[in-house]
C-alpha cells in the first residue's frame, strides 16, 4: 500500500512537540495515558488502511448521485458509519455520560488526520454527525439528547448542518426558513436548504438535521435566527419512524469530494415538518458558531491531510521516475549516463520541500490549536481564558492556511508528475480537485480573513495578539540556545515585528473611521499572519528536533530530526520572506479594490 501520511511525524508533533500526554494529568483525561493514545492512533491507521485508503479513488470514480429520488453513495460509507459507530470514534470527545470517550480534541484531530489523508470523501459523514450531536448535547434538552444522540454516536443516524439557503450563503442574516410554534412545543418548519453535506443516503436509517430558521415574529438579521433539530423521520410512540416531510430535492455534482454527497433539502412542503428548538430562541447562530470553530479546525485538518497524501504520492513518484541527468561540475551533462530519478533535480526537490513545509507546518498548527482547545475547556482554571483567546485568534488561520497553501502544495506535487499529473491514472488530479472546497467550506477565505482582521486581532484590546507574541518569544528564546538556530530565531523576531507594524498601520484606518479600507485587504493580512504563524511552528519543531539530536534522546532515527531542521531552513528561505511583499501591499497608499462611485474599473 502506498504511503499516504506519516505516523512518525504525527507522533513527533503529539508527543515530542506538544507533549500531549500531559493532558492526562487533567481530571477529564485521567483514564488515558500515552500508550492508550498510541494504540488508538494505530487502530485508526488500521481502519484507514483496511477500507478507507483502498476506496479513495472508487469514491471519485463512482460518485455520490441523486437517482430516482434517492441519494446513492459508495458502499464504503456504510462500512465507515458502522465501524465508526461500533468503535466509538464518532463521539470520542463527548462526556462518558452521553456515551462518549472523553478523549482530548488533540487526539481526535490526530485521528482525523489519519482518516482524512486516507480518504477525505468519507470522513465528512461521521464528522458532521459528531458536530450536530455535539450541538444537541451542548444546547439541547435532555429529551432531545436521549432521543437522538445515542443513535448518532452509534453511526445509525447521520447528522447534518443546514445553514445555507439559495439566497443566503455567507450572509446568514438573510435566511428565510421559518418556524411556527405548535401547541405541543414543537415547531412547523418550512423552507429550503442547499449545499447540505451528507444530507441523505441509504446507509443511515434517519438523518438529524440541525436547521437555522426564523421563528415567526423574530427580529430581522442574525439576532432573529434560532436553531432546530429537524429529523428526516419522526419517531412515533411505538418508536417506529414516520416521514417528517423532509424531502431531498436533488444533489450538487462537484469538481471534488465527489464521494461526499451534497444535497438540496426541502422542509415542510406538505406543512408537516416538525422541528424542536435547540438552545434559546433567537440564539441559533451563536449556538451554531460554537460548533463552527471546531468545524473550521476540521476543515483545516482535512486540507492538511489531503495535501499530506498528495505529498507522499509525489515523493514516491519522484523517487521512481527516471528523467534527465544531473548537471555535473563544469556545467555539462553526461548524456551517456543512465537517467537519474527526478528527485535528484533541485527544482523537483524545491517543490517537494515546499509540500513538506506546508503540510507539516499546517499539522503542527492544527494540533497546537486543538491543545489550546483542550486546555481552554478542561485545563487549570487560571489558564483557560488565555488558551481560549489563543484558539479564537488562530482558528481562522488554522482553517485558511492549510486550505490555501495546501492547494498550492498539491499543485506543486502535480507538477512533479509532469503531464501524468494531469491524467486520471495518478491520484494528484483528484487531490487537487478534492482540496479546492476547503477554502470555501465553513466560511470562505475572505470570511476567515474578515474574522481575523476585523474581529480576532482586535478583540479584548488585542489581548490575544499579545499572548501569541508571548508564545513566539518563548520559542525564540528556546531556539536561541542553539547557535545554528539563532539566525532563524532572529528572523522570526523580525517577522513578528513586521506583523505588528503592519497591523498598527492598518489600525489607523479603523481608528479614523475608514473601516472598509481597514478590512479591504484582509486576505493579504491573512497571508502575512499565517506565514509568520507557520514560521513560528517550524522554529518550534526545529528546536525540539535539535534538542533530540543534542541529547540523543531520540524516538526516531537521527535523519528524521535532521530533516525537520532542514525543512525549517527551507521555509525560512523560500516562504517567510513573502511577508515583506505582503506588508508592502498592505501599507501601500493606494486602495485599488474599494468601489468608487462613477468609476467602472471592472467594466
Amino acid at each position: 500500500m502506498a504511503k499516504y501520511m506519516s505516523m512518525d511525524n504525527l507522533r513527533f508533533v503529539l508527543h515530542e512537540m506538544l507533549n500531549v500526554e500531559e493532558l492526562c494529568n487533567l481530571p477529564r483525561f485521567s483514564e488515558y495515558d500515552k500508550d492508550s493514545f498510541d494504540i488508538l492512533l494505530d487502530s485508526v491507521k488500521g481502519a484507514a488502511d483496511q477500507y478507507m485508503y483502498p476506496t479513495f479513488r472508487d469514491c471519485d470514480h463512482d460518485p455520490a448521485r441523486f437517482e430516482d429520488g434517492k441519494v446513492i453513495v459508495h458502499e464504503s460509507v456504510d462500512t465507515m458509519m458502522k465501524q465508526a459507530g461500533e468503535n466509538g470514534t464518532i463521539g470520542m470527545t463527548f462526556d462518558y455520560e452521553v456515551g462518549g470517550m472523553q478523549l482530548p480534541h488533540t487526539v481526535e484531530v490526530a485521528c482525523g488526520h489519519i482518516a482524512e489523508a486516507a480518504n477525505n470523501n468519507l470522513t465528512g459523514y461521521t464528522g458532521l454527525t459528531n458536530g450536530s450531536a455535539n450541538l444537541i448535547v451542548t444546547f439541547g434538552s435532555q429529551e432531545l439528547i436521549d432521543t437522538y444522540v445515542p443513535k448518532m454516536l452509534a453511526g445509525k443516524w447521520g447528522g447534518t448542518m443546514c445553514l445555507t439557503e439559495p439566497q443566503a450563503g455567507s450572509s446568514l442574516s438573510d435566511i428565510s426558513t421559518s418556524a411556527k410554534l405548535n401547541d405541543d412545543g414543537s415547531y412547523n418548519i418550512v423552507g429550503q436548504k442547499i449545499f447540505i453535506s451528507g444530507g441523505d443516503h441509504e446507509y443511515c436509517d434517519n438523518f438529524v438535521h440541525l436547521v437555522l430558521a426564523r421563528i415567526e415574529g423574530a427580529p430581522a438579521g442574525t439576532k432573529g435566527i434560532s436553531l432546530f433539530v429537524v429529523p428526516k423521520n419522526r419517531i412515533q410512540e411505538d418508536q417506529s419512524l414516520t416521514s417528517n416531510d423532509v424531502i431531498t430535492a436533488g444533489d450538487f455534482q462537484k469538481m471534488g469530494q465527489r464521494g461526499y454527497c451534497t444535497t438540496h433539502l426541502v422542509f415542510g412542503e406538505k406543512d408537516d415538518c416538525k422541528g424542536w428548538l435547540v438552545g434559546p430562541e433567537n440564539k441559533g447562530l451563536k449556538c451554531m458558531f460554537q460548533m463552527m470553530n471546531a468545524a473550521r479546525i476540521d476543515v483545516g485538518c482535512t486540507a492538511a491531510s489531503v495535501a499530506t497524501a498528495a505529498y507522499y504520492a509525489s515523493l514516491q513518484y519522484a523517487k521512481e521516475r527516471p528523467q534527465g541527468r544531473r548537471i555535473l561540475s563544469g556545467g555539462v551533462k553526461n548524456v551517456e549516463a543512465e537517467q537519474t530519478t527526478i528527485i535528484n533535480h533541485p527544482d523537483v526537490r524545491r517543490m517537494l520541500l515546499l509540500q513538506k513545509s506546508v503540510i507539516e507546518g499546517s499539522l503542527a498548527l492544527l494540533l497546537q490549536c486543538s491543545k489550546y482547545q483542550d486546555l481552554a475547556e478542561h485545563g487549570p482554571e487560571d489558564t483557560r481564558t488565555q488558551n481560549h483567546d489563543l484558539l479564537e485568534l488562530l482558528t481562522p488561520i488554522a482553517k485558511t492556511y492549510p486550505s490555501e497553501m495546501g492547494r498550492v502544495s498539491i499543485s506543486n506535487g502535480l507538477q512533479i508528475f509532469g503531464g501524468y499529473g494531469f491524467c486520471t491514472e495518478f491520484p494528484l488530479e483528484q487531490y487537487y480537485r478534492d482540496i479546492r472546497i476547503m477554502s470555501l467550506y465553513e466560511g470562505t477565505t475572505g470570511i476567515q480573513s474578515l474574522d481575523l482582521l476585523g474581529r480576532k486581532v482586535v478583540s479584548k484590546n488585542g489581548e490575544a495578539m499579545k499572548l501569541l507574541t508571548k508564545e513566539m518569544i518563548e520559542t525564540i528564546k528556546s531556539a536561541s540556545n542553539y547557535d545554528d538556530l539563532k539566525p532563524y530565531a532572529e528572523k522570526l523576531k523580525e517577522a513578528s515585528k513586521t506583523l505588528e507594524s503592519t497591523l498598527m498601520h492598518l489600525l489607523q484606518f479603523a481608528m479614523n473611521g475608514q473601516h472598509e479600507r481597514y478590512i479591504a485587504d484582509a486576505t493579504i493580512f491573512m497571508e502575512l499572519m499565517s506565514n509568520v504563524t507557520i514560521a513560528w511552528q517550524w522554529l518550534k519543531m526545529a528546536t525540539v528536533a535539535k534538542t533530540a539530536l543534542v541529547t540523543g534522546n531520540m524516538t526516531f532515527g537521527s535523519e528524521f530530526y535532521e530533516n525537520k531542521i532542514h525543512t525549517m531552513k527551507f521555509y525560512y528561505k523560500y516562504e517567510l520572506p513573502k511577508i515583506f511583499s505582503a506588508s508592502e501591499t498592505l501599507k501601500h497608499k493606494d486602495s485599488l479594490t474599494i468601489l468608487e462611485e462613477n468609476k467602472a474599473v471592472l467594466a
Partner: protein, 244 residues
C-alpha cells in the same frame, strides 16, 4: 477453555533495519514497533473468536522489557483477558520458548503466529510444544473446537491437510485463520484495567550465540523494456542479469 497466545514485538514493516556491535545485534534506535501481524491478526483474533463462542479466557504472553507493554496492552484492547510479560530480553527463539513454556502449563490451546516478520524463524511454536510435550500443528489456516477436540486445517504443498486433534496442543497460525480486528475505543480503555502480570524469567543456559547479521541484497532497479524490442530483453538477460 483456557487459551494462551504468544505475541512478539516486531519492527514496523517500513522500518529501516540496521545492526550494531559488529553486526551482532539489531539496532533499535529510531525503529517503531508493532505486534507481529501473524500473532495479532490470526492467532489472537481466532482465540478471541473462540472465547466469544465457547467461553473461557484468552491470556497473552510476551517475553521482553517494559517497553513491550504497549504491545500487550493492544492485545488486551483487542479482547484478551490478561497479559503476562516475562521480564527478560528475548535472546533467542529457544530462550523465548523456554520462558513461554514455563508459563504455559494448564492451557488447552497455545497459539503462535506462523513466524515473526523480523527474523522469520518459525521456531518458537514447535519449541514450546516440545517443552510442554504437546502436539504441534504448524501453518494452521482454520481452527474449529468442539469440547476437547479440534479440527485444524493447515496449508501444505499444493493443497491443505485437515487434522483432528485433542487439546491440549500448540499451533502456529497463518493467514486465513481470522480477519484482522481493530481495537475499539472501549477496548482500549478497558485494556488499562485488565491484569498485566510481570514475571521473572526462569534460569536457562542459552547456547545460542549470534555471529553476525547481514542485510539481504538491495532490491535491484527495475528496467522497462519495450515489448517490441525482444532482442534488447534477451541481451540484458544474458549480459547484465546473466540468467540466460
Amino acid at each position: 477453555m483456557k487459551q494462551l497466545v504468544c505475541i512478539s514485538k516486531t519492527p514496523e514493516t517500513t522500518a529501516k533495519i540496521n545492526f550494531k556491535d559488529g553486526n551482532t545485534a539489531f539496532d533499535e534506535s529510531g525503529v517503531q514497533f508493532i505486534m507481529n501481524p501473524y500473532d495479532e491478526w490470526y492467532a489472537l483474533v481466532r482465540a478471541i473468536e473462540l472465547k466469544e463462542s465457547l467461553g473461557g479466557t484468552v491470556t497473552v504472553i510476551n517475553v521482553g522489557p517494559a517497553s513491550n507493554d504497549v504491545v500487550i496492552r493492544k492485545a488486551l484492547a483487542i479482547g484478551a483477558d490478561e497479559g503476562i510479560r516475562v521480564d527478560a530480553e528475548p535472546k533467542s527463539a529457544l530462550y523465548v520458548a523456554k520462558q513461554i513454556a514455563a508459563n504455559a502449563e494448564g492451557f488447552d490451546l497455545v497459539y503462535c503466529g506462523k513466524e515473526t516478520i523480523d527474523y522469520n524463524g518459525s521456531e518458537v511454536g514447535a519449541m514450546v510444544a516440545e517443552y510442554l510435550d504437546q502436539p504441534f500443528v504448524s501453518f494452521a489456516t482454520k481452527l474449529e473446537v468442539e469440547g476437547n477436540s479440534a479440527t485444524v486445517t493447515r496449508d501444505i504443498e499444493g493443497g491443505s491437510e485437515i487434522s483432528k486433534i485433542d487439546t491440549p496442543f500448540v499451533l502456529s497460525a497463518a493467514k486465513g485463520m481470522a480477519e484482522q480486528r481493530i481495537p475499539n475505543m472501549r477496548g482500549i480503555m478497558m485494556a488499562k484495567k485488565k491484569p498485566l502480570n510481570v514475571v521473572e524469567p526462569v534460569g536457562f543456559d542459552d547456547k545460542v550465540v549470534v555471529s553476525s547479521f547481514t542485510l539481504p541484497d538491495a532490491k535491484t532497479e527495475c528496467k522497462m523494456i519495450d515489448p517490441e524490442n525482444m532482442d534488447e530483453l534477451v541481451r540484458l538477460l544474458q549480459e547484465e542479469a546473466k540468467v540466460l
